[in-house]
């Protein structure tokens, strides 16, 4: 304290000091708040336990090892109705993670494009992007999911329409893609003998691209010469893999979708429930990311751009070398919360019948076993872990783009 006066006589500690003495008051308040919090928590837990025992229910996770007895349409790992509930949960979790990863990628792409274009000097482009952002972020995401699903299942033809001499609907892209109201069927790769070599070559060329980037950077820093990076990287990406593909005798073939029985068979089936959920979540989150990107870019002072221009940098280089690296520092932290939001919003999947964690563990498993509390607790724990993993992963990236003090 700066208001030092005469040293007060030492009366020892009095109880009233807990309230009137600023040295103790904050501690008093904290202790009381803590006690109140603990009381409420203890009350809630005790109430739950008493009510559960009054209902004759216990907390038991043994049901996870019983036969699940229901089917799941989209399985990333093999699953049948004979498998136990924990495996159904795992299938659901993988579906959740799939939609989260796909959603985060697409939302980022949409968001960055929309965010940059919203700053465009072209009046029409900027207005269209404003319209997109405002319409998507101001309508609840559940409605968007349902709207996308309604469009997909009502507007697209049923597989029946593809049948007959003069079908009402036909497949796209030289009969390789079938867009139906049950989902989109695309050609799927069939891995023949020797396809492993092609995959290994492809992975090695990815490594090569990374190594080349390092080399090119060092060369630039020492000599100042800039290589045609993009074209060289593109060549490394395609040429070796295609060479090996032909050398191994074209081991990878495609299986095309074709009408079989009631439905299309063959190819890869992307269900409408997944497409609707994926697109709706991506466009919704994308609109938030667009605003984050825009604010990140606007946060960089105009002087930076002018200085870069004064040094003779072209606009694209100014963006890539000057503006974006600085803007990223502003963009990344709110971007993390958007990724978390998207992951958690994916639990609305049940509305369109996408079998995610909420629909398996929190839906059918919960209903057939009647273990509400256990299922809910487990589900909360899993979402918590997934979210913490995402945010810690993104925090690592955030550290790498932070302003480095030298």
């Amino acid at each position: 304290m700066t208001t030092a006066t005469n040293t007060p006589e030492d009366h020892g500690f009095r109880l009233s000091q807990l309230i009137y003495d600023t040295r103790y008051r904050s501690i008093t308040i904290q202790v009381i708040a803590m006690l109140a919090f603990m009381l409420i928590a203890a009350f809630l837990i005790r109430n739950t336990i008493i009510n559960l025992s009054a209902l004759g229910k216990d907390i038991d996770f043994g049901f996870l090892f019983n036969r699940a007895a229901y089917d799941i349409n989209q399985q990333i790992i093999p699953y049948t109705s004979d498998d136990p509930h924990w495996r159904a949960t795992l299938v659901g979790l993988l579906n959740t993670l799939l939609i989260a990863v796909l959603g985060c990628i697409l939302a980022t792409i949409i968001g960055v494009i929309a965010g940059v274009l919203r700053l465009s000097k072209n009046w029409l482009t900027a207005r269209i992007m404003t319209f997109y952002v405002e319409s998507f972020r101001n309508i609840p995401v559940l409605l968007w999911i349902l709207a996308f699903m309604a469009v997909l299942s009502e507007a697209l033809p049923a597989p029946r329409a593809f049948r007959g001499e003069d079908p009402a609907a036909s497949m796209w892209l030289w009969d390789s893609v079938a867009v139906t109201n049950r989902g989109t069927y695309i050609p799927a790769p069939v891995w023949g003998d020797g396809s492993l070599f092609v995959i290994i070559t492809f992975l090695l060329s990815l490594l090569g691209i990374w190594a080349f980037g390092k080399y090119s950077q060092r060369r630039f820093e020492t000599t100042g010469q800039i290589l045609p990076n993009f074209w060289i990287k593109l060549a490394i990406f395609f040429v070796p893999s295609i060479l090996v593909y032909f050398v191994m005798g074209r081991p990878i073939t495609l299986s095309y979708p074709e009408l079989k029985g009631f439905n299309f068979g063959g190819g890869l089936h992307m269900r409408n429930s997944m497409l609707a959920l994926w697109l709706a979540l991506s466009f919704y989150t994308g609109s938030f990311i667009a605003e984050i990107v825009r604010s990140g870019i606007l946060a960089i002072s105009k002087g930076q751009t002018e200085a870069a221009f004064a040094l003779g940098l072209r606009p694209s280089r100014t963006m890539n070398l000057v503006i974006l690296p600085q803007a990223l520092r502003v963009i990344i932290p709110p971007l993390i919360s958007q990724y978390l939001n998207l992951t958690k919003n994916s639990s609305l999947a049940l509305a369109v019948g996408y079998m995610d964690l909420r629909s398996t563990l929190g839906g059918t498993t919960l209903n057939t076993t009647g273990r509400e509390l256990e299922c809910m607790l487990l589900m909360m724990l899993i979402y918590l872990i997934v979210s913490l993993l995402i945010s810690s992963g993104m925090n690592v990236y955030n550290k790498s783009v932070r302003l480095k003090e030298r």
Partner: protein, 341 residues
Amino acid sequence: MKKSVFLGALTLAGLAAGTAMAQDSSTLAAVKERGVLKCGVNPGTPGFAAPDANGKFVGFDVDVCRAVAAAVLGDSEAVEYTPLTSAVRFTALASGEVDMLARNTTWTFSRDVDLKNTFVGVNYYDGQGFMVPKDLGVSSAKELGGATVCIETGTTTELNLADYFRVNNMEYEPVPVESFTEAQTQFLAGACDVYTTDASALAASRASFENPEGYVVLPEIISKEPLGPLVRHGDDNWGDIVRWSLNAMVAAEEYGVTSANAAELANGTENPEINRLLGVEGELGAMLGLDNAWALNILTQVGNYGESFEKNIGENTPVGLARGLNAQWTEGGLIYSPPFR
């Protein structure tokens, strides 16, 4: 400072104590004090439970709620309906949000024993069936291999479906949907070839289609689905009330007591069973903790089992269900009430 903190803590403690009360006390007392019965019903199955043009719930299951309200409160309209999805119904019942469920719920072992419910009887003997569009050209469920099937998640039908296709060595693609109406939308849009649920609900939904003739219900019934009202464990007296309210409707049909003649028969008849039912003789009502005119109230206000059936789901309604298994035992059906004595 000191005062406000302490007052705050006191308020919290008071709130806590307030919420800690409730539960426990008997459901009958709670319903009587509240003056209204809280009944969980299906949000929309025409014939069984659906809002009519005025937004009032009507239907065959709804009549069970009305019967209980008539027995307990003397007024069949003193019911507060809570529309519940199949996913939340047991939680709503267990937590005391509703006093009873009359929501086409299948009586199974695990729901009865493990979920701590008490099924008080069966008001409709049902079984799971399949509906397909006529132009699919399918006449038996055995021909459905490879089909896409719309199914409500969290129901016993989902488990039956998985078992049926596995036992018959057929592949299928389940399309899980969250509600009855969503299932209809998907089915009508052709997003699935087959819609499966209880045969009664199939008939009900077919009746609501624009073009009912374009759809057929396949002959196979793949499961037993005894549907009935239920209450939670722990209040046997309340269970008895709901059980015997249903039985009163069933017994009344057997003895020919209808909404039209109940009041007249309550003056006394030759048949002692009818006399006991209508409270002319004996103290059956008092044994339940109810007025002795409890069953008379049910019959004058709601009607007997057969009347409710014909009014809501019988052959002259759009749902158009035959009595079949749900005829009285005297007519070859399974509907049977234990004696009132």
